[in-house]
Symmetry: C2
Subunit: 281 residues, 2 copies
């Protein structure tokens, strides 16, 4: 999120395990080890956009962390909170709950469920209209297949990458892995058009598998524009015909500048942007 | 820590920014992103063992996270809490404090300081006396030089590695990196004796640089037993003459079993154990 995304985080409504609250115990393993997952979801007309996609990623994350959680109560809460909020953003965090010191997963644990409601993100509308420039981050993502793709609470790589620039002329930053391949942006996924075909980086070893990415892959397949998921060297990005980044809050931002490359906002990107906007009403 | 290490975590005394407390805001970046560092310290006779080593690692961690914090108040608090506790364990956590949603580091932030006091860890005394067997973890550590060596709050790799076994016959688990080199144990560092010389794995790309490891490297240098810090393949561990693991809470545990290898508790390890016990009184 940009700094303008939320006026005052502390003003948000927050449910903790279903009850109004604002704090968690210091013994929560979410704090101690980042032992948990989260989802940040756009709410419009009282409903969560791409809810099924968010729930799928949540389930994959919980499985990767060996953290079985029945999501029935979570889904009911999310739907009720979305109806109450009408328009805005809901951030859901599920941690393994409180625990003794030590990494060992307790034989019995009660997850902590944190559901925060925020006013709508006010991303600059010109980002979607005119496109964005990407900062080229030096922070590299480590290769960790066990945690790749999911949205866990260990996010120091993203914090470091996002801290590399403060120039508002860059709306996002491009991040590569330790082998040099392009993976994603700090809070977005990346797509590029190469020889008329869509490509998005493979996230099998690192990166966050964004729900907007998954949704667009599905939608593009339906209109016979299958997306190729593979390793993407930097040179491929720079020589591509169109580039965009996406997430489930802002939709699609055309990329118009990266390093020495410049692009106009392409017609194919505009079509994808329209697909994203359909679910972000 | 073993499950027996603390009887009841919630019974611990806790200071939050100097005041008695038990919770932190859900908006703390320590919870949201693991954006912070921690130290777990042994207290004996009212003093923190290896305090200078802990503070050095803390400073390195804060620098790596671009999180300037004046530690003067922290040191005073640690010393006062140690005197009050007399014997036990203090866990200090420093996070970047509360923040809005989004990875960007706030231009101004007020760190959250959490100082928890626990009763003394009751590790099984036979571990130090008779040695331990190591479980061979399948979880691999990713190579991330920007975060290597420090004790940050992103510890999912350790959680996953420690969750691989529950057989109390294994007191610790050996962890390798994604290239197959031996790095450390889940909560300890590793030393081995090869051709009469001590070796410990290089932690330049992953792993936690334990304060007991640093202390023993210094002490062994003083008695003309310099420790070689380098890459350690699994075969080197298995063929070594003596092996031990160490941390700042339990000191030194001789390793007597790993995979098909068996070792007696070696005389050189006993001497190192005595060095560790000097500072853990």
């Amino acid at each position: 999120m940009t700094d303008s995304s939320v006026d005052n985080a502390s003003a948000a409504r927050c449910l903790i395990n279903g009850h109004l609250g604002a704090g968690i115990p210091v013994t929560d393993r979410g704090l101690a080890y980042g032992d948990g997952v989260f989802e940040t979801m756009r709410v419009g007309r009282g409903r969560i956009a791409l809810l099924d996609y968010h729930l799928n990623r949540l389930r994959r994350g919980l499985a990767a962390l060996r953290m079985p959680v029945d999501l029935a109560a979570t889904v009911l809460e999310l739907e009720a909170e979305a109806e109450r909020l009408h328009t805005g953003v809901i951030k859901l965090t599920l941690t393994r709950g409180t625990g003794r010191r030590g990494y060992a997963i307790p034989a019995e644990f009660t997850p902590t469920r944190i559901c925060q409601s925020f006013p709508l993100v006010s991303h600059a509308p010109e980002h979607a209209r005119e496109g964005v420039r990407l900062f080229e981050c030096q922070t590299r993502l480590a290769l960790q297949p066990m945690l790749a793709g999911i949205k866990h609470l260990n996010r120091l790589e993203q914090v470091l990458a996002r801290s590399e620039w403060s120039d508002p002329g860059y709306a996002e930053g491009l991040v590569r892995d330790t082998q040099g391949n392009v993976i994603e942006c700090t809070m977005s996924n990346l797509f590029l058009l190469e020889n008329g075909c869509w490509v998005t980086p493979d996230l099998g070893s690192c990166g966050v598998q964004g729900v907007m990415r998954d949704y667009l892959i599905d939608q593009l397949a339906r209109i016979d524009e299958p997306v190729s998921i593979r390793s993407v060297p930097m040179a491929t990005v720079l020589s591509s015909d169109e580039v965009f980044c996406c997430n489930s809050l802002y939709g699609v931002w055309p990329v118009v500048g990266l390093a020495q490359s410049r692009w106009p906002v392409g017609p194919r990107t505009r079509r994808v942007q329209a697909l994203a906007e359909q679910v972000l009403v």
